[in-house]
Amino acid sequence: MKPTDISNPDYFHKVVDCQWACPAHTPVPEYIRLIAEKRYTDAYMINWESNVFPGILGRTCDRPCEPACRRVRVEEQPVAICRLKRVAADYKSDIQARLPKIPKKKNGRHIALVGAGPASLTVARDLLPLGYEITLFDRDDASGGAMRTQIPRFRLPVEVLEEELNYILDMGINCRFGTEITSMKELLAEDFDAIFVGTGAPLGKTLKLPGHEEAAANIHTGIEWLANVAFEHIDSIGETVIVLGGGNTAMDCCRSSKRLGGKDVKVVVRSGFDEMKASPWEIEDAMNEDIPILNFCVPKRYLLKDGKLCGMEFEKVRREYDENGKRLLIPTGEDPLVLPCDDVLCAIGQDNAFPWIERNLGIEFDRWELPVLNQTTFQSTNEKVFFGGDAALGPDNIITAVAHGHSAALSIHLLCEGQDVNDRPGDLTTLDSQKMGIHQWSYDNDISHDVRYIVPHASKEKTLNDINVEVELGFDEELGFAETQRCLNCDVQTVFTAKTCIECDACVDICPTDCITFTANGAEKDLRQRLLAPAENLEQDLYVSDTLGTGRIMAKNEDLCLHCGLCAERCPTSAWDMQKYLYNTAKAVNA
């Protein structure tokens, strides 16, 4: 293998698994250390710069960082990164003075944002400090998009939502809420310098089965129903409710039903329980509220009594795999399952819909009716029109929408400056030694062996009787601190200097996870098997040094490194050093 090029900004970024997995690349270990130091406001601001909605995301994020957490490779549970983010939001002090200053004198550019969800608001957050004028459209009467309409208040209190929306709205935006844009052609004619479309995936799917027409009054589309609940247009539901679907929307629907009068609420999914798309913690919370989840039941018809919905019939199936490994659902031949119900909530998916974009404006759509985009710049085939969030690539999550927003804002800025949107500034990185003394580092390398701490919940008596009572209470400062100590500080990198190494084996002998081997060089596949402990995880790199004095090389398996710094502590020549790698994505302000 060739020596590893650690100057490649991706190399050490990949080692910070949580940050690498985060669509917005939030520097997770950095803010976790700040929380441990009780510097909650500093921790919050690092988040705010990167993901814009720390308080909201600290409660609702899909947490792609957590399955990536290095901790799961040496024990069972990842660091509770998401809930630590919430600790920063809960315990911060006033941040007004730290928000970017908005220039009084504008730069003469005017941008339209369609849809007031996380993607659009991120674009606004990035462009307003640069002197842009922003007009924000939404068909609803309030901003927030899916964060307001799809996430029930018992998961996200309205005060938390509005606090973080207002940080952006207060920067000075022309808000045109309650106005649905019906024609892109007309919007283009308004002569904005750029238009950003962040309209989400607003079309809920319904299940058209025999009986649907007659029972329609009691069959609801999940996302529409949740929006109506959020805006308090709906405040009750029948006593017996069936929720169809196994995603997070289904979990929100069933738990909301339970709070609006549903006594017997069931979730029914077609395939296996283990195939459900909902986040494990959402499923767990629903089951904790005594909501049964029935699997392998395929809905067949709506049952009617006196012209009104009275139940549903399901066919029971079992799972088999064909010769290509494709999962099949085979009817078991048992009697159909009949479940009585007063209402059915269909949470079986959602679609994008752009009926308001005329197809002769130079904005191309692909065969799934999604806009044709450059996935780095988020520019459509009309150079002035950009897409982000669910509107861009189909239904995903808030943190992805934020990441799109940052990228699109940078593109819009480059466009308005007359520059090539593809010629983007490099990401911002620093790599600094953390050495303070012979065995002293500026980070706490003595990691905790504790298992993941559980977030306390409010009692069910309280939460099930009021849809506005938040279920999760969040970590208090003490629990939050204990959880921070589980973080392995993966951003503090082991940096090796071949020319000072004397090949004494001190690092090899001390490494708790057998990461380091001195051996003859070879092809990667061969080398991975010859290490002290085989490096089986091909997603994780080998860090390979230049040739050493004995003709061997140092090969370090990044997979299981605990970043405990013992290699560097035992190294007599400081050939190993612990250096903190800070990585931030380039944003509009850096162009």
């Binding site: 004494c504 004995t550 035992r570 007599p572």
Partner: protein
Amino acid sequence: MSYIVKPRFHHPGLQKNDLGYTRRDYEGTLTTLCGGCGHDSISAAIIHAVHDMSLAPHQVAKVSGIGCSSKIPAYFLERSHGFNSVHGRMPSIATGANLANRELYYIGISGDGDTASIGLGQFCHIVRRRINMLYMVANNGTYGLTKGQLSATADPGSKTKFGEESQYDNIDLVSLAIDLGASFVARSFSGDKEQLVPLIQAGLSHRGFAFIDVISPCVTFNNTPFSTHGYKNTWENNVVLSEIDFVPMRKEITARYSAGKEKEITLHDGSVIHLHKTSGDYDPYDRENALYHVNEYKKQGKIATGLLYINQSQSDLHELNDTVDKPFNRLNEHDLCPGGDVLQDINETFM
């Protein structure tokens, strides 16, 4: 020394031995030696060796004297027996322990000061008495614990980091051990575990006195370009006389070296070593030949390593003295006071 405790997390694929233990279960407390000290690699090599042999920790006794070397037993096999004796007197303790319980595996750890200076007399006698043990010297040619004076094993011409040159001939412990009748004599290098680990295993399996002289650089006081005990010099001048593969009892035999050039040696406990000679006329069964080779390479400034000499026909102390088979702690009242009949029988032998 490091201030933190070594994390308990380990590689999830870490192999378990026949007893269900991982290598981490054979560790000791975190080392307090200087970072880069060869002695830590010796600890690590012992941990590897004993784990691979599936010895239970309670089957092993660690004995040592005084010096940096003699601290090592704290850093491996935390759950084994141990005795840290006075300077140079480890052989007496080892002899006594071995007489009392012949079933344990004894690992004696000493240094060049502890063995070649203050303990030289004791060393000579434990070799001569053929105690069944593995005696290892962590040899760095310097007195590290007293800040880097030249030791009795420092080669003539070798310099300390303060510039002091060794005026005297060195005591070569390998030659001495062969000369005094040790039945297993090897030399190795702390930096080369591929060589050291099988030697430790073979030494533990060998019945009789097994001696390994391990060049173990003192990174703080004796690792200069002018030192013959530094890392660089040892890597560059290491001449391997024989390479061995160790195959513990009951394990399938798979050789690392090409067939034909190697000898298969079955040790007393049924383990096997595959000995691969890398030097043509060298014979590890021939004492004079082994001594000749060691000295020839020494004249050239080279360090002969590997299994240098082995003699499997020699009886150990217990055999020579026809001692009781059982360890003392398992002898009961009947064994010790077998009664008048036995006394009568004994008396009759004097008639």
